[in-house]
């Protein structure tokens, strides 16, 4: 009978749920991925490619061999590191857009140290380089923290502007004082010595111990957020700043801490990039990791595990985009298209966490008549 009744129905109705659906919160990303795949298949088909094969090329072919997996780890690590710092800030509603600049300054500072220690050997060299890189990233974030706590400057503006300053400082350095003296005036530093390069995990593959840094950061931030008073205070500050004040939490101290941790992690990501796959300073050391990490945080619903998946997924779309260009000679814009669809569908599906689709029922009057008739029969 229900199918008969549904024939008379037209359209759907949106209803606010009594409480947010837990089930939907987990399903929404999966639904978004599914919708992205379906739309992606449609786009490939309209471009004249077999949708199945094209999707395979995009999402699975990059991972066909071990090299692909190591590259995925290499691409996801900096995203994960930056995102782990950002999630702390965003939880507290500190809108730090500056991971990009902190990444660059970390790379620049650490890279400078690596060039200074060029002739030194021993494991302490690498330690000094990496630690100095993270410290530089932290100091860069400290500028934003100082401006926010001391002068009440909006951190969105200050961090964005600090990104530009960082980028131009990098340009100045590689076009000027840090330029390789034997490099025909091209804007890049000398290659770092072996003692300041991160150890590789597998011989012959580029994946290095920065993956461990990222996973360690994941564990630490997760513990910090879920098991410590600091994490609780951060969450309260984000939910309701006046409640946090009322509870006697020192807001400025929280701002400082969140930004410093974020700066250190982004700086660590930066120095890992230059002492890892790049191996020198040049004008292109950041590929927008600091910005992409913002998407990663929201895609991963501000939860460490979600962020892990999101960073891997985003890394995969970059690699898949390269693959479809190579194999199917499709344009690069597909990468952006897939990333955009993913985010769009996620936001759309998130609506279902708070609302539900209700197949609108016929008039109550009619249905009671129906039931009455049924009863008579």
């Amino acid at each position: 009978m229900s199918s008969q009744r549904s024939k008379h129905l037209f359209g759907v109705r949106l209803e606010k749920r009594a409480s947010d659906s837990r089930w939907m919160a987990y399903c929404s990303p999966l639904l978004a991925i599914l919708l992205t795949l379906l739309c992606g298949a449609g786009i490939f088909a309209s471009l004249g490619h077999a949708p199945g094969a094209a999707l395979y090329t995009f999402f699975l072919q990059p991972l066909e061999d071990f090299y692909g997996w190591t590259e995925l780890g290499l691409k996801a690590s900096p995203l994960l590191l930056c995102a782990m710092g950002l999630v702390l800030c965003f939880k507290a509603k500190i809108w730090n857009i500056g991971a990009e600049g902190q990444f660059i300054i970390g790379a620049l500072g650490g890279g400078y140290m690596a060039l200074q220690l060029d002739s030194m050997e021993g494991p302490w060299v690498l330690f000094a380089v990496v630690a100095f890189g993270a410290l530089c990233g932290m100091l860069w974030a400290a500028l934003a923290a100082l401006l926010k706590t001391r002068f009440a400057c909006n951190e969105i503006l200050t961090t964005i502007m600090l990104n530009y300053i960082a980028l131009n400082w990098l340009y100045y350095s590689v076009y000027g004082p840090l330029k390789d003296p034997a490099g025909y005036n091209f804007p890049e530093s000398a290659l770092f010595s072996d003692s300041s390069l991160l150890p590789l995990l597998f011989d012959g593959y580029r994946l290095n111990i920065s993956l461990y840094f990222a996973l360690l950061a994941l564990a630490c931030v997760w513990t910090l957020m879920s098991r410590t008073l600091f994490g609780f205070q951060i969450a309260v500050l984000g939910e309701d700043a006046s409640a946090a004040r009322y509870a006697g939490f020192k807001q400025n101290r929280l701002v400082w801490l969140a930004l410093l941790v974020c700066g250190a992690l982004a700086g660590l990501a930066g120095i890992s990039e230059v002492t890892g796959p790049v191996g020198q300073l040049n004008a292109n050391i950041s590929l927008g990791y600091g910005y992409a990490a913002i998407i990663v945080v929201f895609l991963g619903r501000m939860h460490p595990v979600g962020i892990l998946f999101a960073s891997v997924l985003l890394a995969l779309t970059f690699m898949g985009g390269e693959m479809v260009q190579m194999e199917l000679t499709l344009p690069k814009s597909l990468t952006g298209l897939f990333q955009g669809m993913l985010l769009f569908f996620l936001l759309a599906c998130d609506f279902l966490i708070g609302y539900q689709l209700q197949w609108s029922r016929p008039n109550r009057k009619i249905s009671t008549v129906d039931i009455a008739q049924k009863a008579q029969e």
């Binding site: 199945g52 999707l55 000027g176 004082p177 950041s286 390269e322 260009q325 190579m326």
Partner: protein
């Protein structure tokens, strides 16, 4: 059909075609192993009308000439950072036997991948590091710059020329100097103003830089960035412009006086043929106007006949080798003699050029 069934059908269909297509792709891959696979790595989008566009024309030329003897593919907008090595590596591991990496920043990544794939041939544009299976090539675009400078010097009324530059690397500085030298030979009162856009490809920034230069009285513009934005703004503001990388007359038919163009096709064809024949060797090539890799676009009808003649004469002299652009006397911005009369700058000095010549205004960033 109930909704659930319909839903099942919707997901079944692509999954079915997915399995079939994956199978077909596998078969196709095994049958088709014959042609030489040639890969190209581009730093910009193929539709930039500039640098990458010119390389892609070269790729298409190779395909047109060699037909089914080659199979080409490319990856565009590959950043010169950590991603480049992966893309080059994937190209090599996907069976490409000849790979052109067409931007300076790919030098170290190309070298690293070349060491891992000793049987694959690599050709890197504009770099200075080579290996047994990695050659380098470039084109003497500065020769074209010099010729277009002559045109600019003759056509300006304000005696101010505007130059939108990308980054202060030797290639760009060489272009500015060659252009200035040509312009001042044609008209000793000319000065060249340079705006650094700090980008290779950003039409909005390039247009902004062009407009700044026009406000500073420049009436002939040229650029060392990859889009045609300055031609468009010159057209809109009624001044002249000189393109770079490709013939950009399409973007402003009144403004476009001429352009320095690259013609990579013959070079790429030669390299591909050498790999097919097995005669390829890692060398450094720096051809120019004589070999045809650098040329200038047809001159605008507004250019007087005598100027056309002057350009033709100088071009012939470059072709014949009697004119080498940086022939002395060459004087730098501070007024010091760099090359006395009767001598000419050597290639090594050209490759590392990091100073302005007399006639260029402003300070070179961080030199």
């Amino acid at each position: 059909m109930n909704p659930m069934q319909r839903f099942k059908n919707i997901i079944k269909r692509p999954l079915g075609s997915f399995a079939v297509a994956a199978g077909l792709a596998a078969i196709a891959a095994t049958v088709n192993a014959d042609p030489l696979k040639v890969g190209f790595i581009y730093v910009g989008p193929t539709g930039d009308a500039g640098w990458t566009y010119s390389h892609d024309l070269g790729r298409q030329y190779v395909e047109a000439q060699l037909g089914d003897k080659v199979e080409t593919s490319y990856v565009e907008s590959v950043s010169e950072g950590a991603d480049a090595e992966r893309v080059i590596h994937q190209m090599a591991s996907k069976g490409h036997e000849l790979i052109f990496t067409t931007s300076f920043g790919y030098m170290n990544p190309t070298l690293k991948v070349a060491k891992r794939f000793p049987k694959v041939v690599f050709e890197h544009a504009s770099g200075y590091k080579r290996a047994k299976n990695m050659g380098t090539y470039f084109t003497r675009a500065y020769q074209g710059r010099y010729l277009t400078g002559l045109v600019a010097g003759k056509m300006t009324k304000t005696n101010v020329l505007g130059y939108v530059a990308s980054f202060p690397i030797p290639e760009v500085i060489r272009g500015i100097n060659a252009f200035t030298k040509g312009a001042r030979e044609a008209n000793p009162d000319v000065t060249v103003k340079v705006v650094w856009a700090s980008t290779w490809y950003d039409p909005a920034k390039e247009r902004e830089a062009a407009e700044t230069l026009i406000l500073q009285n420049a009436d002939v513009l040229t650029q060392h960035t990859d889009s045609a934005a300055i031609i468009q703004s010159a057209q809109a503001k009624g001044v002249y412009a000189i393109g770079y990388h490709s013939d950009m007359s399409l973007y402003g038919k009144d403004a476009h006086l001429t352009a320095t163009v690259h013609n990579w096709g013959p070079l790429y064809l030669e390299k591909a043929q050498q790999v097919i024949d097995g005669s390829w060797k890692a060398v450094d090539l720096w051809p120019g106007i004589a070999e045809g890799t650098t040329d200038i676009a047809p001159l605008n009808a507004a250019v007087p006949e005598e100027v056309k003649q002057l350009v033709a004469e100088k071009k012939a002299a470059i072709k014949a080798g009697t004119l080498r652009v940086f022939d002395g006397p060459v004087v730098n911005q501070k007024g010091e003699m760099v090359v006395p009369a009767g001598e000419s700058l050597e290639d090594a000095a050209l490759l590392g050029m990091n100073y302005y010549l007399q006639g260029v205004q402003g300070k070179l960033p961080q030199s």
